[in-house]
């Protein structure tokens, strides 16, 4: 079945080559980092996690977002999603693969990564994160591949995958919950120390994941004969819209709690992210992330408004734009602000700002390119099988 990925037009091969080029750059950057140490990044004693861990956090969400495509079809027999569940599963595979690469890129001693398995530590949330992420990868590989392969053979998928598919639904929730628990269980990091973090993660995930899928689906609609259909598209708009609104509702709850209680620790990071925070010893105001975070709000709300307008106008172009706006908004919110903001101020109430280095950005781009490479190959296989079947049927 995989041989389907070897047949493609010029555009397909140019895209593959482009991705391989970026992956190559990423590999070179990683060699630099590996030889020098993590000092090659912008991270410091005060901001100990940077873009790697924040991308990881965001991508766990994209992976979990696949749930929104699988759940309606398998649990509610929503037939119009029949053609896209496989896309959700394959997107999850690529996202989890990226998550794992980002974790590896972030380790100071990557050769010792297996210590997590060799010395299992059930009191560490990372231990559970390892279990749920590898489990989710396994479930999606098996479910996605077996279902597609059955379709390829022109038979119904075997019954034994059914329990695995059902299992993958709560499992998707678990990956993002456990990832939130990495942060919200730490004493002394007020910004993260909130019970609403896991729900907030899930809300943004259920918007960002389907957004990415929608954009890819719209691209495929133009470049291939594969069309997910107007009904599925409209349903996805509902899912994305409500999940995105829920995300902002949760953010609003955070803002209320911080600014109504006026507990300094609760306000500090929000101040830093949206207004800039002044160091009361030096008098310097730090506001690196302010333009990004404000842009995130604007893009997010604009995206939500436009996505419903696009459905009313039946405009694919506007739909793609609004999905991109929401995706970028949530990428900034979670892929930058959430992790980086948590370190400001530090435990000694000092402010250190973080700026990623070129090496770090190169590695990050390389990992993203790897993810898109996996998605491209898997989607190519999936739609080839589907189009072939529909052609013969």
């Amino acid at each position: 079945m995989l041989e389907k990925s070897l047949k493609g037009n010029l555009g397909y091969w140019a895209w593959i080559l482009f991705l391989l080029g970026i992956i190559g750059v990423g590999v070179i950057c990683y060699i630099v980092q590996y030889n020098y140490g993590l000092g090659a990044t912008g991270m410091s004693r005060d901001v100990t996690w940077g873009v790697y861990i924040s991308q990881f956090t965001f991508l766990v969400g994209v992976a979990a977002g696949g749930l929104m495509l699988v759940l309606p079809y398998y649990l509610h027999h929503y037939k119009d999603f029949g053609r896209i569940t496989i896309l959700g599963e394959f997107m999850a595979i690529a996202s989890v693969a990226m998550c794992m690469l980002f974790i590896m890129a972030d380790l100071g001693q990557p050769m010792r990564a297996l210590n997590v398995v060799l010395h299992p530590t059930p009191n560490s949330m990372l231990f559970y994160d390892m279990i749920v992420l590898s489990g989710y990868l396994f479930l999606n590989v098996v479910c996605g591949w077996v279902v597609l392969h059955s379709e390829y053979k022109g038979i119904k998928y075997p019954n034994w995958v059914k329990p695995l598919i059902y299992l993958s639904i709560p499992w998707a929730v678990s990956i993002h919950t456990v990832t939130a628990f990495l942060y919200c269980g730490l004493p002394g990091r007020h910004f993260w120390l909130t019970a609403i973090l896991a729900p907030r993660f899930l809300a943004s995930a259920f918007a960002a994941g389907p957004c990415l899928l929608m954009v890819i689906a719209l691209i495929m609609k133009r470049t291939t004969k594969f069309d997910i259909g107007r009904v599925a598209q409209d349903k996805l708009v509902t899912i994305i819209g409500y999940a995105a609104l829920l995300n902002f509702f949760f953010l609003g709850c955070e803002i209320f709690v911080a600014y109504y209680s006026t507990i300094p620790g609760h306000m500090h990071t929000l101040d830093y992210l949206y207004f800039g925070l002044t160091d009361h010893v030096t008098g310097v105001t730090h506001n690196n992330l302010v333009p990004f975070m404000r842009a995130s709000l604007v893009l997010g709300f604009a995206g939500i408004a436009l996505i419903f307008v696009s459905r009313y106008l039946k405009s694919d172009g506007l739909l793609a734009v609004s999905c991109i706006l929401i995706f970028v908004s949530f990428w900034i919110d979670k892929g930058l602000g959430l992790v980086l903001g948590g370190f400001v101020p530090n435990g000694l109430e000092q402010i250190t700002e973080y700026v990623p280095t070129a090496v770090e950005i190169g590695i990050t781009a390389g990992v993203w390119a790897t993810g898109f490479f996996i998605i491209t190959i898997l989607y190519k296989v999936a739609i080839s099988v589907k189009l072939e079947n529909e052609g013969t049927a």
Binding site: L38, T48, W49, N346, L348
Partner: protein
């Protein structure tokens, strides 16, 4: 034929999963048991919490080491703090990279508002308190968040309450650094054994303590190996007769540190977090 092959594969698969899972589960149980007890021996610090050897049957020591830092005495004895820091950093081969980004420190000084953030009522404290510097270091918490967070038990708590680091097991995920509310931990962002423009990061290597490799976390160890030999931590020793630092067993009511704690009003850093720090301050 086909069905028997399938059966065989099923059984083989299940046994493989069980075979992989069982030993590690067993290990986990055994380790917990060992962690609850204590161990002696030459390399006790490295092995007791991991339970690879020794430890079985040894009774808990019941000790909990702690420290009282008299900030007033440090304020009155200018230069004393620097002496303590040098004693620590020189002995433990703590590198100096000459920049804030790569900085590694085990023991250092901070103004009141940084050492005790959140104590807003203290903003209106006397000028002396605000002029004072406070020695900060790992608090060797009784309930350490870093130990909870570490995914490999590279950081662990000894039976005597000292929170330890195993530099050889640390994978460098820095979860412990995110978990520590006191900023007590440092990471080797680059090779501490290297040099820049011919100046080595470790001025003079002390052969008695290993230098670290890049990519691992480190922090104050309360001089556990000295304490095991009945000696005082190096910083405490450096304070000499000033009594600016008092170290000892908090569980022993007759120890000097317990007596000071009974006699003087002391504060801890961020006690509201429930970490139960073992370092106390006289202000």
């Amino acid at each position: 034929m086909d069905s028997s092959r399938r059966k065989f594969l099923k059984i083989a698969g299940i046994s493989a999963v069980a075979g992989i899972g069982a030993p590690s589960a067993l290990n986990m149980l055994m380790k917990n048991e060992v962690q609850a007890s204590s161990a002696g021996g030459e390399h006790g610090a490295q092995t007791e919490a991991h339970g690879e050897q020794g430890g079985h049957g040894a009774a808990p020591t019941g000790k909990r080491y702690g420290m009282v830092i008299d900030a007033v005495k440090f304020h009155e004895n200018q230069g004393l703090a620097e002496k303590c820091i040098a004693a620590c950093h020189d002995y433990f081969n703590v590198p100096n990279f000459g920049n804030k980004k790569d900085e590694i420190k085990w023991l250092w000084q901070m103004p009141f508002t940084n050492a005790f953030p959140g104590d807003e009522s203290h903003y209106k404290k006397d000028d002396r308190t605000h002029a004072m510097q406070f020695m900060v270091l790992c608090n060797h918490c009784d309930n350490p968040p870093c130990v909870r967070a570490c995914p490999t038990k590279a950081t662990f708590k000894n039976a005597d309450g000292i929170v330890m680091m195993d530099f050889h097991r640390c994978i460098g995920c820095r979860f412990c650094m995110a978990a520590c509310p006191y900023g007590a931990r440092s990471f080797n962002w680059r090779d501490p054994r290297g040099s820049k423009d011919g100046v080595p990061f470790i001025k003079k290597v002390n052969p008695e303590f290993p230098t670290r490799m890049r990519g691992v976390v480190e922090k104050c160890s309360f001089c556990d190996l000295r304490v095991k030999r009945g000696l005082q931590p190096l910083c405490v020793e450096a304070t000499g007769d000033t009594k600016a630092m008092v170290f000892g067993d908090l569980n022993d009511p007759n120890s000097e540190v317990s007596q000071v704690l009974r006699a003087r009003f002391t504060i801890q850093r961020k006690p509201s977090l429930g970490t139960m720090p073992s370092v106390f301050y006289i202000i």
